[in-house]
Amino acid sequence: MVKSGGNTRIFSNVCTHMQCPVRWDGALHQFLCPCHGGLYDINGTNVGGPPPKPLPQYVHRIDGTTLFVQNRFTEEI
């Protein structure tokens, strides 16, 4: 989950290359895939390594202080 300004984004941590579990790397300040070294920036854009697409985002809605996340991506993958 990334919050920048008033904009919230919920990313799937499934790498778009081979579906390995992507995690935030504090030192790199990027999302790193441990399998084949795929890198995504804080906006989920694929910026290094073999991933062919940005990280998918979940459809979500914020109601007051409650965050609802739907098991559906904003774009077809």
Partner: protein, 388 residues
């Protein structure tokens, strides 16, 4: 007593022809020189039989379900020392089998044994190699620990890069869009039933073809080896000397039809086969007891800390996955598929009867580069993963 046993044997022989079967099986002519190289095929067979035996025992307790698979193997690990060793033997004999089958293939390639009339020996051998790889892949999914789960995710995702029907193939293998219960059932069925049902008859065909044409051996056993040497008496053509079956008495290619000198399969070759196979089995037992088969934590699809590390035999493919840039990802499918097709086509492309590896650089050099390519990918992969 001895006479009684002899009479019983006669009784049995009258009904089964066991005597002539044994004679046919044991006293086959094989080439004399280089016989240690010919032990790799029998070693492969022994390791496959070891897989069959330990695999049968593992099915007696393993439960192919996502909730029970890991638990059944964890029970072995915690409470059943003997069962753990059986599982260790299953794993380590699989590892050594993959290695030995590779050596067997390389030996056959460099000795030119795949040439006429043994093309189908080679083709069935390539088929067996692929089937053993499928066994290794599906077997790696079954423990359903972290290593198994993430191996399943990555491996079943590779065919998704097939043009047009990629996601269909992936869904067919997984039984859904994601790896889950059906993936496990399916891989279990493929591993214990589908592939063995094809594998064992194909081994029968491979052995029947071996017996039909006889062991080729290597060029040093043949008249063709003497062609270009000066001051060396060329041995008589097969037509001028007695040839032992199964080598053809009326050869189509007299340089390479029958080895110059043969010996009986038993006891000469069986002795060497026995030594190598026994040594490998001992190594497998030692590794099974000393190291055993690892079982990591149960599969966790939601992990953000686990680093998947592929099985060593996936390393070449895994390194390809790292090296191939995003625009060319289908290459990770094209290269292995192309490699397999080339292997299958090899005896039909390279039809020159010459068997001496030093006299056929057009095949040896690309072959050596292909082997080198796989070895380098493996070394790069292990260097990356284990910081060597």
């Amino acid at each position: 007593m001895v006479r009684r046993l002899g009479a019983a044997y006669d009784w049995f022989d009258e009904r089964t022809a066991i005597r002539s079967l044994l004679r046919k099986g044991l006293y086959e002519a094989v080439p004399v020189r280089g016989a240690w190289f010919y032990t790799l095929g029998s070693a492969t067979l022994v390791l496959i039989l070891l897989q069959l035996i330990t695999g049968i025992f593992l099915t007696l307790l393993y439960v192919p379900s996502v909730t029970e698979a890991w638990a059944s193997l964890n029970y072995l690990k915690e409470h059943d020392a003997f069962g753990s060793i059986v599982r260790g033997i299953h794993l380590w004999s699989a590892y050594i089998l993959l290695f030995v089958i590779g050596l067997h293939m390389i030996r056959t390639f460099f000795s030119g044994s795949y040439k006429r009339p043994r093309e189908l020996n080679w083709v069935t051998g390539v088929g067996l190699f692929i089937l053993v790889l499928v066994m290794a892949i599906t077997g790696a999914f079954l423990p359903w620990d972290q290593a198994a789960y993430w191996t399943a995710v990555v491996v079943t995702n590779v065919p998704a890069y097939t043009p047009f029907i990629g996601s269909f193939i992936r869904a067919l293998w997984r039984g859904a869009d994601t790896v889950g219960p059906i993936t496990l059932s399916r891989s279990f069925g493929i591993h214990v039933w589908l592939i063995p049902a094809i594998l064992f008859p194909l081994i029968g065909a491979h052995l029947a073809l071996l017996r039909k044409h006889g062991e080729f051996g290597s060029y040093v056993n043949y008249r063709g080896a003497y062609r270009s040497r000066e001051g060396v008496d060329v041995p008589p053509a097969p037509a001028q000397r007695p040839i032992e079956p199964p080598y053809p008495a009326a050869p189509s290619d007299e340089q390479w039809a029958a080895p110059l000198q043969t010996e009986d399969f038993y006891p000469h070759q069986t002795f060497k086969d026995g030594i190598v196979s026994a040594a490998l089995v001992v190594v497998v037992f030692i590794l099974a007891v000393a190291i055993g088969a690892p079982l990591e934590a149960i599969a966790d699809p939601a992990t953000t800390s686990y680093t998947p590390v592929p099985e060593w035999f996936f390393l070449p493919l895994d390194e390809l996955l790292v090296l191939v840039p995003q625009q060319l990802i289908p290459l990770v499918l094209v290269l292995p598929t192309g490699g397999v097709l080339l292997l299958l086509a090899l005896p039909f492309i390279d039809r020159d009867p010459e068997r001496n590896p030093f006299e056929r650089p057009a095949v040896m050099v690309p072959g050596a580069f292909a082997v080198l390519f796989v070895v380098i990918l493996t070394l790069l992969g292990s260097g990356r993963l284990f910081n060597l």
